[in-house]
Subunit: 350 residues, 2 copies
């Protein structure tokens, strides 16, 4: 295996803490020479010190890497020191958009012994193992909107959801391929009875592309109905495809019902391969527990399986997945420190 | 009590079945002369027969009523016979918009003995009793959007979320009033780190109006984080205020965790009183179980408590609420037919 160049953005709050454990796992599974890590100091603190969110020169540099590992970005919600959305839109979303991360993968799996808020009778022995394929470069995330008469009783503020055939087709096709390689069932989540323009595009593409995958069963669910489905029987899902905002919402719920956001990994994939893909836990920077060494690094470590898979090392990816799942099962509901969990998983990989 | 004029739109699927039980409860609690019901035949079947969704003359007539009782509207999702959104946008949303239903109230309460998909340890004896105050006339529901190059690889489809100070202020103020009369806690759900224009308006109004309610504690949660909160500890909520789409999504989840959509009532309130308000169960027309007499009419009946309260009969509203809650608790997980449930509750009210 030739040495791959990885850019590392630990970010804010618990981001750097969990990222350190993710890199530990990568090194453990692939050896010390497999990856060449370059660290970038970006995020809330960096902005407060320098006024820079993501300089163009850094964005340019990042293009040259094979992959990006991201911890978490963002100040405490409601923090007065940092304008709302500055880091999310200037850094996290900027990377997703600049590097055309059209496929946002978010697997959810309920491991034996893991505490879930759902009652045991919801599962009745059925396995929960699905993946959400979220569009990552369109929808309401484009920053397309504005406001007039701000701060007056006549204020009007808009947000525009942008959906293109190009963006929808590629994520839907990707989802069909994944479904074909899994249990052959794909569910589209949308709200086409209200969002008729975007919904019609999503629906039509879903059905058209589906004709090329006759072995994949396709289903449609309104996003509101999906909320119910996710808590009354999450085992019904195999692959879910949806837009950027619905994907954001449903993946937090999916994470919650499968053991919490501390276990949820994600990959932001650039489908053309022109730009580096980016791997990050679904959770945020969790400023309330930052610096205490208690954040669960499992999601960050699991994201490394997605990275390895993306870089063509399916065998190593599987080893990380197996180590994570063995460790999750072994620890059950027990809590370990960030470093302890990282060490436990690294030890399994060494 | 003078006789109030009520327009009744049973609608599609299970709509007419549950509506009959709702009217039975109204008559039982208020006597046979309190209400004067006028039935309107609208919905999927009516459209298929006549090509009419909601004629202007009917819309005009409806204005003269004191309130509207609605069952459910909508064909089976994926039904080829009826274009997606035709009935939702042409009838249900048309009424909400034409009659300026700016306040969409959706209470959620977990009654003792009611089956919930959440594990008992989620509650630990805490009560779940909150109300979502959903904006009903703006956001992504305006039908503001379009598409170009439809059906080509260059298709672009947009949906525009429209938010005005007028619409946001009145729903936020309403929510503060409700919180003040309850446990004095109000949570705003939004996604202001991504939807910065709309989010800034909502956030600002939330904080500004909040200054007038110093006794109400205010909290902000991102909509994705709210998904987690709703399943790991729904008892934390008292009043929630949010926009039209987020409200749609979170209320289905809220219904699911508090015993299911069969119990969830709603009111579409016209704050100025110029137009009739409308009362409906949160659930849809459920074509899969229509005609079998097995739909649970509890949500439709509960909606009558909201109607009574709105028409100034707080005492009768409380009697309906008490009868519903007693019946829900008594029946536990047991299932009754639509008419049986209606009869049981009516008997308690007579
Ligand atoms: C931080 C935020 C911008 C981001 C998103 O909304 O995509 C996060 O919630 C996520 O799911 O990755
Ligand atoms: C039927 C649909 C248009 C409607 C909505 O989205 O508001 C329904 O889901 C609801 O919650 O009342």
């Amino acid at each position: 295996m030739t040495s791959a160049r990885i850019a590392v953005i630990g970010g804010d709050g618990i981001g750097p803490e969990v990222t350190a454990e993710a890199l530990k796992a990568l090194t453990a599974v692939a050896g010390p020479d497999a990856f060449d890590f370059t660290h970038y100091d970006l995020g809330a603190e960096h902005w407060q010190r320098t006024g820079e969110v993501l300089p163009d020169t850094v964005l340019e540099e990042l293009k040259g890497f094979d992959a990006i590992v991201l911890g978490a970005i963002g100040a405490a919600p409601g923090s007065k020191a940092i304008p709302s959305g500055l880091l999310e839109r200037g850094l996290l979303l900027k990377l997703r958009f600049a590097f055309d991360h059209g496929i946002n993968l978010r697997p959810s799996k309920l491991y034996p012994g893991v505490p879930t808020p759902l009652a045991p009778r919801v599962f009745e022995g059925r396995e929960v193992d699905f993946v959400v394929v979220r569009e990552g470069t369109e929808g309401l995330y484009c920053g397309n909107g504005g406001a007039v008469r701000i701060g007056t009783p006549h204020e009007l503020a808009t947000e525009v959801s942008v959906n293109t055939y190009f963006g929808v087709e590629r994520v839907v096709r990707d989802a069909y391929h994944r479904a074909q390689a899994r249990r052959r069932q794909l569910t589209l989540l949308h709200k086409h009875n209200v969002l008729v323009n975007a919904g019609s595009l999503w629906n039509r593409v879903f059905n058209e592309v589906g004709e090329e995958f006759p072995d994949v069963e396709r289903r449609y669910l309104h996003i509101d109905a999906a909320m119910i489905a996710m808590v009354v029987d999450p085992s019904q899902f195999d692959v879910i495809v949806t837009d950027n905002l619905f994907g954001d919402i449903v993946t937090d719920l999916a994470a919650a019902v499968t053991g919490g956001i501390g276990l949820a990994a994600s990959a932001n994939i650039n489908p053309s391969g022109e730009f580096p893909s980016m791997f990050e836990p679904v959770h945020g920077s969790a400023p309330d527990i930052a610096g205490q060494g208690i954040a669960d690094p499992t999601a960050a470590i699991s994201s490394m399986a997605l990275l390895l898979d993306h870089l063509g090392h399916a065998d190593l990816a599987k080893r990380v997945d197996d180590a994570v799942s063995a460790d999750i099962t072994e620890r059950g509901g027990q809590r370990f420190s960030t470093v302890e969990t990282g060490d436990r998983i690294a030890a399994r990989l060494a």
